[in-house]
């Protein structure tokens, strides 16, 4: 099983000091978090993609390329790549390029993006969101698998005799996850291609995501990629740890109360009861994270959101130390009782082996 962190790349004032980091500080902080993730033994770092303030990561492959050069093992991913407003041709090229530079340590989570104005800035319409995700990904999928592509669709100029370069490393396209918090169409898309399905379930109660993930698993089996319990599932998570539970709650509360997504709403206590958010001791985080398997079945990837809501870098790096401390236990516990036929998340080397064999 893979463990890692994902970042949205928000520039948020620290509510305890009122200080807002500069864009440069935030970008360098994201890199520092990625390097720390490898140092403490995590498997994955994923960056968001945004094209509007207060977010900085508009150019994921630039950042991931830089991180690739400074890491050895870490899988570089996205959370998420905007399959709607990006040109699929450019995604095909950018991420194939990154694959070569990172020796295959690359995968992507596709997402639609939910900010209305971003679509027209890129010549698109949010009402076409699902349609764009379906059509653009169909083209991307083809560009990575066929050397010469003739193609025509609704949302992009046609292609005649087009070759996307560079070709994917070893002719093995990056593994793709499809992220969704709401849309069964996206779960169906992931199932159709036999791709992974990533449910960032951190903001809502589990019941909603149980329906969505069960649906993805059923459809994965329906489309002939394996049994439902073998479908490739990734989940989000959100934690804050201190040795003592009370210290964690005291320190995190002002960040929670002012957080961009859920701040000024429910109390920390209510939200931790209703969602995966865990604020407490390392053991409490282990216990809560292990319940995910009970709710969603054996899964392949667990990504934690650690650096939002204005938390200072120093604190985030301390949090990553805690993560590094608990992940061996999580690996061990998640392995207990896991059926032998539940696959790991595909990586470049596992997919290459499958092709060669």
């Amino acid at each position: 099983m893979q463990f890692g962190v994902f970042t949205v790349g928000d520039v948020t004032p620290d509510p305890t000091t009122g200080r807002t980091p500069t864009e440069a500080e935030r970008i360098k902080a994201m890199v520092a978090i990625a390097l720390k993730a490898e140092e403490v033994g995590l498997d994955v770092f994923a960056t968001g993609e945004h094209h509007n303030p207060p977010f900085v990561p508009s150019s994921p492959t630039t950042m991931l390329g830089y991180i690739a050069a400074r890491t050895e093992r870490l899988i570089l991913s996205t959370a998420t790549t905007l399959i709607t407003t990006n040109d699929p041709v450019k995604i095909a090229e950018d991420y194939a390029m990154l694959q070569h530079l990172a020796d295959g340590r690359v995968d992507l989570i596709m997402g639609r993006g939910n900010t209305g104005p971003v679509y027209p800035w890129f010549g698109k319409d949010i009402r076409d969101g699902i349609d764009l995700a379906i059509e653009n990904y169909a083209l991307l999928h083809k560009l990575w698998r066929e050397d010469v592509v003739d193609w025509q669709g609704k949302h992009r100029t046609p292609l005649q005799s087009f070759t996307s370069t560079p070709r994917p490393l070893d002719d093995v396209p990056p593994f793709v996850w499809h992220g969704s918090i709401r849309s069964p169409q996206i779960a169906e898309q992931a199932a159709y291609y036999g791709d992974g399905f990533f449910a960032n379930h951190i903001f809502w109660p589990k019941e909603h995501f149980q329906r969505l993930i069960t649906f993805y698993r059923e459809r994965y089996e329906h489309h002939g990629h394996g049994a439902a319990h073998q479908a490739i599932v990734g989940l989000g998570g959100q934690v804050f740890m201190r040795r003592n539970s009370q210290d964690a709650v005291r320190e995190f509360r002002p960040y929670f109360d002012n957080a961009p997504v859920y701040g000024h709403g429910p109390s920390l206590e209510e939200f931790t009861e209703q969602t995966p958010l865990t604020v407490g001791s390392p053991q409490e985080v282990i216990d809560k994270t292990l319940t995910f398997r009970e709710h969603f079945g054996d899964y392949q990837r667990q990504l934690f959101l650690m650096d939002h809501a204005g938390l200072p870098l120093k604190t985030v790096l301390e949090q990553l130390d805690f993560l590094g401390e608990i992940v061996p236990t999580l690996r061990r516990e998640f392995a207990v009782g896991r059926p032998a036929d539940v696959p790991d998340a595909p990586t470049h080397s596992s997919m290459l082996k499958a092709v060669v064999r």
Partner: protein, 192 residues
């Protein structure tokens, strides 16, 4: 069994909005056999509703109420009149319902206010809201001003509205007036 959910956004205790909602529900109950009535008092859910606006999901107890509203065979919705419209709490509750969740739902609308001058809140605010939601609003809405509680007329409007809701639930066409307003002259002469 038929189910009716009553949503009322009264804030006071006692509350005239609560009172009107109860009377509308009881009048409907008299006409619909085996009617199960559930009541949602939005004041008790004020924070849950605000939290749902912020987080995008309902708390467990708000979800229960939303499910009872969406799943009911009919709905009675009563709000106080604030600044010429339904109250913010009432609208916020409607705003946390999933789109299209009230399509085709028989609804009886009611409103309360300090003076009769606000009575068009029913037809200028509540009715368009439920029209947008594609619910089926019965022709008679019931508005109760403070003075209505000490005057006649209100019970008749309550019964007429409840009758329309009952007809809709039973799939009956609304009953036509038994006559065209003709009153024998001896009754007219008697002052009635």
């Amino acid at each position: 069994m038929t189910t009716l959910t009553v949503v009322q956004a009264g804030l006071g205790s006692p509350s005239s909005t609560q009172l009107l909602a109860t009377r509308l529900a009881e009048a409907t109950q008299r006409l619909v056999p085996d009617l199960e009535v559930r009541t949602a008092h939005l004041r008790d859910l004020a924070r849950d509703i605000a939290d749902n606006l912020v987080t995008g999901f309902p708390s467990a107890r708000l979800r229960e109420v939303v499910e009872s509203v969406v799943g009911a065979d009919a709905l009675i919705a009563v709000t106080p009149t604030f600044n010429a419209s339904y109250s913010g709490l009432f609208k916020s509750f409607v705003d946390v319902l999933e789109p299209e969740s009230l399509v085709g739902k028989p609804v009886l609308i009611g409103a309360t206010g300090g003076t009769e001058r606000h009575s068009l809140v029913l037809d200028h605010a509540l009715r368009p809201l439920f029209a947008y939601l594609r619910a089926i609003v019965v022709p008679t809405g019931v508005y109760a001003a403070s003075s209505d509680w000490g005057a006649d007329g209100l019970p008749g409007r309550v019964d007429r509205a409840a009758g329309e809701l009952a007809d809709l639930l039973a799939g009956r066409a609304p009953v036509k007036p038994a006559h065209d307003g003709f009153v024998p002259f001896d009754q007219l002469l008697a002052g009635r």
